[in-house]
């Protein structure tokens, strides 16, 4: 670091680049955890639906824990637990693991709701037309149930995107952490926080509006 006269320096254009990079990191960690978490969550949701009481005694309580403990505690706990069992994970990997499980625990309920939203008579009709169990899941349950819970899933995904800000507690420089660093240097909290907030808003608002309009369209 070069010696400077003043400890603080103003907000410079290159700081925008710094924020932009951090925003990309926020997107990257969110997209990664949401996509893996959704796949896992759908599988868990199917297990919850088909497993009946066996799943209710095993999978459900475990998923419930991830919904009942603050994400920030989960992150710190996992980040400090991994070395104990000999895993050396960087903040990004730890963040992805926990965000993925967290997403999966939320999506599991959504997915189960989706399967339950398909009328049993419809599924029996599909089976009696000669479809196999998996064909029934793929061609009947997925389109109908998926449509029923798509808005709920969008809500979960956006929630995880916003919660990814918490990975900053492990030292991963995503958008909010980056703005915190800039605030410390430039002493211009209002401007920088507004920029960071505007980014989240610009990402989340159109998607939630789109999901809401889809919901209205499908409800008709």
């Amino acid at each position: 670091m070069e010696p400077t006269v003043s400890f603080f320096s103003g907000f410079a254009p290159k700081d925008l680049l710094f924020l932009g990079e951090a925003a990309l990191r926020t997107m990257w960690i969110s997209v990664l955890s949401i996509s893996i978490g959704t796949v896992l969550g759908v599988i868990f949701g199917w297990i919850l639906y088909e497993g009946k009481w066996a799943a209710a005694l095993t999978v459900a309580p475990i998923l419930d824990v991830f919904r009942s403990v603050p994400l920030i505690i989960q992150l710190v706990l996992f980040y400090n637990f991994a070395p104990i069992v000999g895993l050396n994970l960087d903040p990004f990997a730890s963040g992805v693991v926990i965000l993925t499980i967290y997403t999966a625990s939320l999506v599991a309920n959504v997915a189960r709701g989706g399967i339950e939203a398909v009328q049993p008579s419809m599924r029996r009709a599909a089976r009696s037309l000669g479809m196999s169990y998996w064909q029934d899941l793929r061609h009947v349950v997925l389109p109908i149930g998926g449509r029923a819970v798509f808005p709920a899933w969008v809500g979960v995904a956006l929630g995880v995107m916003k919660d990814s800000a918490l990975v900053s507690v492990l030292g991963y420089v995503e958008l909010l952490k980056a703005s915190q660093i800039l605030i410390t240097r430039t002493q211009e909290p209002f401007l920088i926080l507004t920029l960071a907030g505007a980014f989240y808003f610009a990402l989340s608002y159109p998607i939630s509006r789109y999901a809401a309009s889809l919901e209205r369209k499908w409800a008709q």
């Binding site: 009942s68 403990v69 710190v76 916003k162 926080l193």
Partner: protein, 220 residues
Amino acid sequence: MFDYNFHWRPVMKSLPDLLEAALLTLQVAVLAMILGIIIGLCLALIRLNMRGPLRWIASTWVELARNTPALFQLFFFGFGLGAFGLHLSPYMIVLAGLTFNCAGYLAENFRGGFQAVPDTQIRASRSLGMTAWQAYTRIVIPQVFRIVYHPITNQMVWAVLMSSLGMLVGFRELSGETQFFASRTFRIFEYFAVTAVIYYVIVKLILGASRLLATRLFRY
């Protein structure tokens, strides 16, 4: 693989402090919820019944609360307001942030609740000689309350979980206290594991109490 020695003794010794901090967590969450319900109700009514700048403010509040991370909102009340020379105490930061967030989410729930009660009921009660106030408090609100009861319970759980962000703004509630002890003893995993259990118990207690209350309140 397992050459880590767990030391639970320091955690057990500071357990009374942690439980006291848990009460602080509950206190902030409950206060934020009470304020959030009042403000959220106002926001919902404004968005449903008014035009002009007040409606615009209410909509902006709701959309900002729902589309930006809770941590961002806390930071905003933390250092963002500092730009205007307004310095809140950590307690006030968390309370203001949680209230802002809860009010935004609850407003949407209330709006959905109000829209679920048909207009004809208000007209019917008005034509029976009730004043507008009576129609609202005796006909509409009880029905809305029934609809939003579960969302309010969920929001209460969220408020408790969200209050853990206080750790990042220097508030010594359950998470902040845990971090304080953990960084003093370097028993990070043990401390956060116990805290996770405490959060889990709190959430279960809230859900249990809510269920009990629901059976008392909603007897047909």
